[in-house]
Symmetry: D2
Subunit: 151 residues, 4 copies
C-alpha cells in the first residue's frame, strides 16, 4: 500500500484542476465516493469519478468560473489526507458586490480523502462553525430575495 504524501495530495489537486482525464485517473479511483456537505441541491454522496467530475463542472458553471480553493495546510495519517482550504466563489447570477450568503461563498473547507494504493477512493468535505448554513444557501437555487434562479 502506497501511503499518501503531501506532494501526492498536491498533485491530485493539480490533476483535478487540469481537467485532463488521464491525469485525473492516476489519482482518483473510478469507483470513488464523494460527500458534499449541507442540505442544498448539490449535497450528498456522489458515486463514481464521473459523478464527481460532473459536480465540479456544475459548480464551476454556477459560479461563472470564480470558484477557487486556496490550500493552507495538508495533513496525512492512517490512510487519509486532509487539506484545509479557503474556498471562495461568487454565483454567476449574483448582483455586483453582494455579500449575501446566497450569492457569495467564502469559508474554510477541509477535504478529507481516503487513499488506497495511491489513489483517492473516498472524499468528504467538512465544514466549521455555522458555515453549513451559508454553504447550503450559496449552492441553493435561491437568490437572496427568495427567487428561484434558473427557473
Amino acid at each position: 500500500m502506497t501511503l499518501p504524501t503531501g506532494e501526492r495530495v498536491e498533485e491530485a489537486h493539480r490533476a483535478l484542476a487540469s481537467g485532463r482525464l488521464d491525469e485525473i485517473a492516476r489519482y482518483y479511483h473510478e469507483d470513488l465516493r464523494w460527500l458534499v456537505p449541507g442540505g442544498h441541491e448539490l449535497a450528498g454522496w456522489y458515486r463514481g469519478r464521473d459523478a464527481l467530475l460532473s459536480l465540479m463542472a456544475r459548480a464551476g458553471k454556477l459560479t461563472g468560473g470564480s470558484f477557487a480553493m486556496q490550500r493552507r495546510a495538508v495533513l496525512i495519517g492512517d490512510g487519509y489526507s486532509a487539506d484545509l482550504c479557503r474556498n471562495t466563489g461568487t454565483r454567476a447570477d449574483a448582483p455586483a458586490g453582494s455579500v449575501s450568503p446566497y450569492d457569495r461563498l467564502d469559508m474554510d473547507v477541509l477535504h478529507l480523502l481516503r487513499w488506497e494504493d495511491g489513489r483517492v477512493v473516498e472524499g468528504r468535505d467538512a465544514l466549521f462553525g455555522d458555515d453549513a448554513t451559508a454553504f447550503s444557501q450559496s449552492w441553493s437555487q435561491l437568490a437572496s430575495d427568495g427567487s428561484r434562479v434558473g427557473d
Copy 2:
C-alpha cells in the same frame, strides 16, 4: 372587489385538487406568485399559475401520490385567507415504515393566500416551530443516509 369567503377558499382547494384547468383558472390568477418555504430544491418563489401546477405535479410524483392536506381551520380578513392544514406525505423512494424526516412529511402548514377580484394572486406557505428543518429534509434529494435520490 369580491372578498374571499370560507366557502370560496374550500372551492379553490377542490379546484386545484381536481386538476381541471378551467376550474383552476376560476380561482387562481394566471400571474400569481407562490412561495414554498425552506432551503431545499423546490423552495422559493414560483411565478405564474403554470409554475404552481408544475410544482404540484412534481410534489405528487416525489411522494408517489401520497401527499395530502387535511384542512383544520380557515381564517379570512383584509383580503387574505389562511387555511391551517395537516400536510402529510411519504417519499416514493422511502424504505417502508421509515419515520426519518428525509422520508416522511407530517406537520401543520398554514397557506396564506391573497385574493383580488375573487382569485388568488399570491400564496405563501408558513411553517411552525422547527418544522422548516424537517420540511427541507423531506423535499431534498437526500435520503436519510446521505444518498442522492434520483442520481
Copy 3:
C-alpha cells in the same frame, strides 16, 4: 363562546405591549402555550402566561428595545386569529449598520392565536420562505464572526 374579532386581536396586542398585567390577563389565559419558531436558544414551546412574558422581556433586552411588530393584516376564523406582521429588530450588541442576519431581524411573521372564551389559549408564530434560517441566526448567541455573545 366569544369569537375573536379584529378589534379584540388589536386590543390583545396593545395589552401585551402595555406591560400592564391586569390588562394582559384579560386577553391571555394564564395556562396558554406559545411556540417560538426555529432552532435557536429561545425556540420551542413556552408553557404559561408568565413564561411568555419572560420571553418577551428577554427579546426586548436582546434587541435593546428595538424589537417592533407592524401589523399588516388580521384574519379570523374557526376559533383562531392570525395577524400578519412585519417584525424588525437589531441586536443590542450589533455593529452599527450591520445587515448580517446574526445582527438584524426583518421579516414577515404570522402569529396564529387560538381563542377560548375571549382569551388566547395558544399562540404559534409561523415563518415564510427561508426565513427560519435567518430567524434562528438573529436570536442565537452567535455574532456574525461566530463569537458567543454574552459569554
Copy 4:
C-alpha cells in the same frame, strides 16, 4: 517548535478525559480558542482553556455522561493535527430508545487542532454531510416535540 505527533494527540485526548488540570495544562494552552459547530446554544467560539472545560462539563451533564468519542484516524501536518472520531451520546432527558436527532447524537466529527510549542492553541470541530443539522438539534434545548427542556 515541537511538531505534534500521533502519540501526543492521543495523550492530549487522554489528559482532557482525565479531568486532571495539571495534565490538561501540559497539552492545552490557557489562551486557546475552540469553535463548536452548528447554530445551537452551545455553538460558537470559546475563548480560553477554562471556557473549553466548562463546555465539556456541560456537554457531559446534558448527555448524562453518555457522550463518547471513538478515535478512528489521526492526521498530522503543517502544525495541525486532525483526529477523525465517531461521536455518540444520548441526552439525559431522552425517552428510552429514541432515535430522534433531538435526543441522540451519532456521527463522525473531525477535530482540527493547531499546535504551538507542543500545546493546542486552537481547536475547530468539523462536520460532514448534513450532520450540522442533526448536531444542532441534539445540542439544542428542544425535545423532539418542541418542548423546551430544562425550562
